[in-house]
Symmetry: C2
Subunit: 524 residues, 2 copies
């Protein structure tokens, strides 16, 4: 009887068009760039899998074994990307060295990385066997990280299913074009600028030029190659904007607390702090080390995936600073052990970062100001010492510091003394701890935690088969219509015609009258 009534209910729901969310098939297409671009996407995949969905992730065959071991509850399919993933990893590993060099060298480095990113995508889309299997897989949604290449959006369009993007932001700014969101450079800093929303005239000039220049440079680097991929795999009639502009939801790994109040669109959802969570217990030896710090507490040091790129010279400077601290130090470090390492410092090749930041003994976090680490610090209310290097890090650091969460130091010029002073300042200055605690309370007080929100939106997309009603008309408008140039031209033409007619009429009447009076004068 119960089975019958369930069946009847199901029939009624299907008749009413209600899509019942059960074990849906989700395809994840990560960016070809790993590290902080991969972890949040993998976490979303795991959260979806934990909700009972069948989650498949496409990765290079060079990394598939490692990924399977790390994330056993995700299904992986792989393709031969001819080593491009490994080459991008290698180039990303040189970042801290490259960031010191000339602009030309940085460009060269970036362009080389782009070539491998496109090769990676091209080989994925070109793998007929894999794409055929994906087509047969009848996925309900494709979730992607679109860093520099909208490979996932092209896959979604190819499979004809809705698309959700998860990203920190798009240095190219193409997400702005694809969502239609306005970002006035007068107070919205470029993602790669070191500014906040309070800029001097000089900074506004720099931000405006930077926003424009970055768009132009990336347009030159990326637009053609991305467009070629679209045309090659979706046909001549498709365009890059047409494909990326159909993204159903953009999940941004930002929060206004560490971002800035700026315009947003209905299909843009903030999920900043998606990776932060309550701290789990630490391994026994680490817990013992934390407890051994006494009331002075512990400083956590991590430069994220750039850890391996730090030179011994920079490491010595930092080791010397840490050795002077009253606190104990846990430092994520790979490479030759610095000579000046203090007894208070523990080196580890990998850190349970979230659990360490959530530990009651933790007093400060020395970080490269990557987005994931900063949001973990925000969640746990830990003051930060930022040593940003490149990408979004200078801006992340500037905004965190402007909110009173910590201080900023220049990685390349920092000395043992400035590092020591910086750490001491954020630990002993009460304002940093209080601000961090206040911001943490604000950040935690949300109707849905960020991960729950991300999962909710992905399931919302699945349930309704896409959300085209959230897509702004701005995306389709040509630029001259968006900026009202046609309206201005029309109004100017009307004004000119009216004024011209009035002027012509007046001068005609005047001339007539002058002629008459002239004639009269003559006749007189």
């Amino acid at each position: 009887m119960e089975t019958t009534s369930r069946y009847v209910l199901l029939c009624v729901m299907i008749c009413l068009g209600v899509h019942v969310i059960g074990a849906e098939k989700v395809l994840i297409v990560p960016s070809a760039v790993s590290g902080s671009h991969w972890f949040p996407l993998a976490s979303v995949g795991q959260a979806l899998a934990a909700r009972g969905h069948d989650v498949t992730t496409v990765v290079s065959q060079d990394i598939v074994a490692k990924r399977r071991a790390e994330r056993p509850n995700l299904r992986f399919v792989s393709f031969d990307d001819q080593g491009s993933f490994a080459r991008i990893e290698n180039l990303a590993g040189q970042m801290s060295e490259i960031s010191k060099q000339s602009m030309f060298r940085i460009f060269q480095h970036t362009q080389e990385a782009f070539q491998y990113i496109f090769q990676h995508c091209d080989l994925l889309l070109g793998d007929g066997d894999l794409m055929g299997r994906l087509k047969q897989g009848r996925f309900q949604v494709v979730v992607t990280e679109p860093f520099m290449c909208p490979c996932g959006a092209i896959v979604a369009a190819y499979l004809g299913v809705p698309h959700v993007a998860l990203l920190r932001g798009d240095p190219w700014g193409f997400d702005g074009r694809a969502t239609g969101v306005p970002r006035p450079p007068s107070y919205v800093p470029s993602i790669i600028s070191p500014f906040t929303d309070r800029m001097t005239l000089k900074e506004r000039v720099r931000n405006t030029v930077m926003s424009f220049a970055v768009t132009m440079v990336f347009q030159w680097f990326l637009a053609g190659a991305n467009n070629n991929l679209v045309i090659k795999y979706l046909g001549e009639k498709e365009t890059l904007l047409g494909v990326v502009g159909k993204t159903d939801v953009w999940l941004y790994r930002i929060d206004v607390l560490l971002g800035l109040p700026a315009p947003t669109m209905p299909n843009m959802v903030n999920v900043g702090g998606i990776n932060a969570r309550e701290a789990s217990p630490l391994p026994e030896d680490l817990e013992l080390f934390m407890q051994s710090s006494g009331p002075a507490g512990v400083v956590v040091v991590s430069f994220g995936s750039q850890a391996k790129t730090i030179s011994l010279e920079r490491a010595e400077v930092m080791a010397a600073a840490f050795s002077r601290l009253r606190q104990k130090v846990v430092w994520r470090y790979v490479g030759e052990k610095p000579v000046g390492l203090g007894n208070n410092t523990k080196l580890m090749s990998w850190l349970p970062q979230n659990d360490l930041l959530g530990h009651p003994k933790t007093r400060a976090f020395v970080t490269h100001a990557g987005s994931n680490g900063l949001y973990e610090a925000l969640y746990h209310g830990v003051p930060v010492v930022c040593t940003p290097l490149a990408g979004d890090q200078p801006g992340n650091a500037a905004r965190a510091v402007s909110k009173g969460l910590g201080v900023i130091l220049d990685f390349h010029t920092l000395t043992s003394e400035t590092m020591y002073q910086g750490i001491t300042q954020v630990i002993t200055g009460n304002s940093y701890r209080e601000t961090a605690a206040r911001l943490s309370r604000l950040h935690r007080d949300q109707p849905q935690p960020p991960m729950e929100r991300a999962v909710w939106w992905i399931e919302h997309v699945i349930k309704h088969g896409g959300l085209p009603h959230l897509r702004a008309r701005a995306v389709d408008l040509p630029w001259y219509q968006y900026y009202l140039l046609d309206v201005t031209a029309f109004l100017l033409a009307v004004c000119t015609a009216v004024l011209g007619t009035v002027w012509y009429s007046c001068s005609f009447i005047c001339r007539k009258m002058c002629c008459k009076s002239g004639g009269k004068l003559k006749s007189q």
Copy 2:
């Protein structure tokens, strides 16, 4: 022991700065305009009271007895507004007649209403005894409806407490200035325009001119009077933008499904559909009437608070149309009974509109396209026949129709035949019913129902003592900085200087060379 541990917990929470939400004191300042501006605010007040908060509402003494009877769980305090509330009610009641007349008459009518709106606010703020009692009341938040006059924002600033605004939209567009949200007229229609986001060149021209003209006209009507109120009660140093721009959260009674995808800001929250809810059982006689309609069903007719302003001639046209329907009709109607009223039509001076729209026998809703009614129709998935009159109604209707929810008819020129055809079309055309059902499913699928969301945000404001971190820097920027005129001027000056120097240097060198060669030629 339990008491002690509770006390310790409370002390810990207070030390941690956690504000515990209990019975907080909420002050509600409604708009001087009643009807659809009052109901949603009153519902929010009731929801807050149901959550255990102590809710006080400030109203004119002319209406306080009626309000107390309607909403027994709200506390009311009153002041003598010298009949201005009643006069505004009277002017609003003439709307359908006035909307047919000349632009000058509409202006005159509107200006008269504004005078009473300002008088109402002036008398509230000028009531020293009342304001003193409110100051002593130690409210945690002021919730207001800011239609045309930010009286509640001034009260909040006077009391020094956070402020939440609940509104459909601001015809003046001053909310745009106070939040910093961009609204490009190329695809964001003015709130009083009859357009959607798909406009022809002619419509874009009209929308641009309309957006600009309305802002200018209202600026002329309102800015001075509102500014005077600010200066009179808050001091010479305060400005209108300074006060209204400090609003912590703007709760908009819109949803992208009946609005349009357009830019929004972090302190703007959509709560469209706040008044819609599951249908309650109807009174017995009305339920019998509904059931007597058989499979043909019922058409619900309501023109909201404009019901009393419909002329007998228009009523006769409609009565004749309704009498031809296979359906039964429930019509909210006050005034002389039309001669041509059919046996199938039941007149009522008040309708349980939400419960009727949620009744399984309801087939269509004939409405003036007021925002509250349309959201109830959306919630219950009922197709609509819109006969908009003025204000936001033409735009509401146009957008509902563009989504496929129904048809639109001109109130002043409609005939019995067009009304009959309109109703028949939305009932017999499957697409309207299906679209209404699809939109209803989408609208209901939200992480929080709109009312819960509104209450959550008000409590969030209370808990953190205001949310200044959501306020965009755009609000403080002078217009020439916002629109980058200073940056443009600087860049132009630099370009001119560089080009000028190059030009001058080149011409100098050329001249020198010419002189030399000229000298050589001469000497030759």
